[in-house]
Symmetry: C2
């Protein structure tokens, strides 16, 4: 007999590394009573330059580990993994499974007045076409420009979130978008909100005005509404946060502390 | 009964990705009769920002796969893996096991007149201290400066080997070295020879004159001498080349062809 997890069970969240902490942070804000269990697959980061088969295999391993810890819901806090593995994980598990793509796509399409949306993400996310499908489901007439920005994640992981090199890389990657009528830009990677300042500055210099949408807050809102509807919310108490990482926790904690101002009281190494 | 591999057996070469092809290319030049079997662990690339435990685990898996294919010698064509796993792999296997660090260290220390050598590599290679130990074994009085350059590998993999962003990153990483008396710089990552042009230009602009040493040719020479001494060389025929990759071969072939001008007639996907 399978017992359904209680409302006190944690929400499981996974990402290839520490970028998904931006999503966890947003969930913490809108659902302060929830216990959260985060898994960063730091031994195999990044996912964004790998192939669908490999990304699906790694996502399955992450989800399986979190489910074995008794979570009540699963958030794929990684665009690359969401782009390739959300359907498969939904079929495999009975608990609610959330990707980060659909919520931000829904939010962004409602925001765009010009009917032209730009998507920037990893190479794997862009080539998956997942954003194009998600956006066109709401507004089939939308024009969508996609740009892969493979250096953005390494720049964040180097700690160069505000740096002349990052500004120059932004100009290189965003130049084409700035020549379009796109009035809404989706930051389709959980690392990218950490580059928001550089991205905004670059678009300003290029004379382009657009609204930036990141996945974190729209995903968190979507999780909140869904859990409420399914009577799965934890109503009282302060949420507890636990972190699992597949490589040594040191670098994860260092980056998380310096870039996210997060506290890491409970970090455990796991093998996948 | 363990049968020793014949001289026709291949030399196995592994790297976290395609950077080790620079070493393979050098081996091919000095040992044209040898069959070469290359393994790129592209599903888990990069190794350079991971911890020793994870790097050793991955290196063991790579070596074990190659040995199961009947190789007669093993080259760890990755500085990060050489820094952490060479001793363990030597103990584990009866065949000759070569890392890329000792040969280039021996070459570089003999070259330096100022007695000051700079080492640039991944974070894992630099923090391992493997180059400091290897160099001081020859000349204990050497002064050694080390700089981690985590963005160099992503820049190569983006194909930006000669690009204004790469020039700017070089100035950032090499500025400190240019203020030292180092007259010899070790490119302690198999990707870095592909940035040689940018590195040289940057040092010129900074008014610093130093000789660059990469691992490829010194490792190839060392392999040649050792195989000759052990009577393990293949004496006749044209060498055959086979490639194994843990992620989809497409990206590996694309990068290899564009950056190395290599041909890939026989590429196989393997799971690790």
């Amino acid at each position: 007999m399978n017992l359904a997890p209680s409302n006190d069970a944690a929400i499981g969240i996974f990402d290839s590394g520490f970028g998904g902490l931006t999503v966890m942070d947003a969930i913490r804000r809108v659902l302060p009573h929830e216990n959260l269990l985060y898994l960063g697959d730091t031994a195999r980061v990044p996912y964004g330059n790998k192939t669908p088969q490999t990304i699906i295999r790694y996502s399955n391993a992450c989800a399986s580990l979190l489910v074995s810890r008794g979570i009540k819901a699963l958030v794929i806090a990684c665009n690359t993994a969401s782009a390739h593995a959300v359907e498969e994980l939904r079929e495999r598990y009975d608990i609610p499974v959330f990707g980060v793509i659909q919520p931000v796509a829904q939010f962004a399409q409602a925001l765009s007045k010009s009917g032209h949306i730009a998507v920037i993400g990893t190479r794997a996310t862009v080539t998956s076409g997942a954003y194009v499908r998600a956006l066109k489901r709401y507004r089939p007439e939308l024009q969508i420009s996609q740009t892969a920005c493979p250096l953005f994640v390494p720049l964040v992981e180097e700690g160069w979130c505000s740096h002349p090199v990052t500004d120059m890389v932004c100009r290189e990657y965003l130049g084409d978008i700035a020549r379009t009528t796109a009035d809404t830009i989706i930051l389709a990677c959980t690392h990218y909100p950490l580059l928001r300042h550089s991205i905004v500055k670059c678009l300003d210099e290029l004379g382009h005005h657009a609204q930036l949408c990141d996945c974190a807050s729209s995903t968190a809102d979507y999780v909140r509404k869904t859990l409420a509807k399914a009577n799965l919310m934890r109503q009282h108490g302060e949420g507890e946060y636990k972190y699992l990482v597949t490589d040594d926790p040191h670098n994860f904690v260092r980056l998380g502390q310096s870039l996210m101002k997060a506290r890491f009281d409970d970090v455990e190494h796991v093998d996948l």
